[in-house]
């Protein structure tokens, strides 16, 4: 083989090897759940490592919020319809925090039923509709309002 051809072959093989390596490393990183984001379902099924810092996201269960005005201790249940656990948080909850609303919390999973949050973030409503439509939907008892904003199986891009 002439030297130029040989060099080009070397370059091509090297570049391909590099690309393969990059793909492999990226796949490993993705499979390792780099975000450390877990849904209540994953927590219920024991997929989330207990005792580690992580993020969880889900809907606040209606009627589950317990606030202590003195100590600012809050507790509420978080669900995605497939699993539920209780979040404990000391501090002021954000303005958009409401029952039935989607939230994201940072903190530590103490057990499969208890999550100690250091931060609670309310998820912005993605639905764009006029107030009349909202009222009409609520009057008709439409389930999609306030509920289906959070789609557990989609994984949600936070």
């Amino acid at each position: 083989m002439n030297p130029v051809r040989k060099q080009r072959l070397l370059i091509t093989l090297g570049a391909l090897a590099g690309l393969a390596l990059a793909t492999g490393l990226l796949l490993y990183a993705i499979s390792a759940n780099i975000n450390l984001f877990y849904t209540p379902q994953q927590v219920a099924e024991g997929e989330a490592p207990v005792g580690q810092r992580m993020r969880v996201g889900g809907l606040v269960v209606e009627g589950s919020v317990r606030r202590d005005q003195e100590t600012l201790e809050n507790a509420f249940d978080l669900t995605d319809g497939l699993g539920t656990f209780t979040v404990y948080y000391v501090g002021i909850l954000p303005d958009l925090f409401r029952e039935g609303q989607g939230i994201v919390a940072n903190g530590t999973l103490i057990s499969e039923s208890r999550f100690d949050a250091t931060e609670v973030l309310a998820k912005h409503d993605e639905q764009y509709m006029p107030p009349e439509v909202l009222e009409a939907l609520q009057r008709a008892g439409h389930p999609s309002v306030d509920g289906s904003v959070y789609e557990a199986e989609e994984g949600v891009s936070y």
Binding site: L36, A122, H124, M129, P130, P131, V133, E154, S157
Partner: protein, 320 residues
């Protein structure tokens, strides 16, 4: 001397051994991939509409190409060669321009007036949401513009096509303005909605970097005196930049997700949750901005063509 040699070489590389079809197929596939990625990451319309439309187009194109292959390929090849020639491009764009201006003005005006005065308010944000009628079109135009610049850069590097270099130079300024408008309007909207003008949210950060990349391309072009060299350097930078934009989107997503949650992702998840009465003016202004983009790109490209070809006979006839 230098010029004629480059001219000769670019002629030679157009007539390379592989047939034109090969490059055309690759180009169309690449465009489709880029478009799919873009649509997937920012579904302003419901995905079903985009994908449905894409399928219809694809099926028509595929069967048409199967039945009348010669016609299709010859037409595409002709377009490719004709649009690659500055002179032809100048003449053609002169014919398009009045129509594009008219469509752009009509679409922008109806979209903005409808959005500002006639669309209903948002159920939570009240009237402040009306900024999306400027913000969303500007953001999407900035992103699309950068993708287009990357594709043009690739074409310019592979075939040394003069028109592709001119297109990059024409796209960059308006893209930078679009990114800036998107950032400014987003900041003003953020104040009543989130309570702050600026947060280091994934989308905001990547748009800021997009603006920097646009400015980098413009700066590089201005720094190099020789137009051909400047064009090729800018092509390389925009291709590298496209790869970077993709990585930045993921890296920033990952980075901010550990620190502060983006609780305000707009069109992040599947499907559009925009009510039709709000979507219609949004789509109008979006397409209006796209047409406006096309108008300015064509105007800039025509100026650049005139200046670069100033020594040729057709420009003399055209000008005087």
């Amino acid at each position: 001397m230098q010029d004629s040699r480059a001219e000769h070489r670019s002629q030679a590389s157009v007539n390379m051994a592989l047939p034109g079809h090969f490059y055309l197929i690759s180009l169309v596939t690449l465009l489709a991939a880029v478009l799919t990625w873009f649509i997937w990451s920012a579904p302003v319309l419901p995905r079903s509409i985009w994908l449905g439309g894409g399928w219809v187009f694809g099926v028509v194109f595929y069967f048409g190409a199967l039945r009348y292959p010669d016609l299709y390929w010859r037409t595409l090849e002709r377009w490719y060669h004709e649009l690659g020639s500055p002179r032809y491009f100048y003449r053609l764009s002169g014919l398009w321009l009045p129509w594009l201006v008219a469509i752009a003005v009509v679409l922008c005006l109806t979209g903005l007036v409808w959005g500002l005065a006639f669309a209903p308010p948002h159920h939570e944000q009240g009237n402040s949401y009306r900024i999306i009628y400027l913000h969303v079109p500007a953001s999407s135009a900035a992103l699309m513009g950068y993708m287009a610049m990357g594709v043009a850069g690739l074409v310019a590097l592979v075939w040394r096509l003069k028109m592709a270099e001119i297109m990059i130079k024409a796209i960059a300024p308006f893209g930078a303005v679009m990114a800036a408008v998107s950032l400014i309007s987003g900041a003003i909207w953020g104040r009543p909605t989130w309570g702050t003008y600026w947060i280091w949210d994934a989308r905001l950060t990547s748009m800021l970097i997009l603006l920097f990349l646009y400015l980098g391309v413009i700066a590089l072009q201005n720094a190099i005196r020789d137009p051909r060299q400047a064009g090729r350097a800018a092509s390389l930078l925009s291709v590298v930049g496209v790869i970077n934009v993709v990585i930045v989107r993921y890296s920033v997503d990952w980075w901010q997700s550990l620190h502060q949650g983006s609780s305000m992702s707009m069109f992040g998840t599947a499907g559009s949750a925009i009510h039709p009465s709000m979507l219609a003016p949004l789509l109008l202004s979006m397409f209006g901005i796209y047409f406006l983009y096309a108008v300015t790109v064509l105007v800039r490209a025509r100026t650049e063509i005139l200046w670069r070809e100033r020594k040729s006979q057709w420009v003399r006839e055209e000008v005087s």
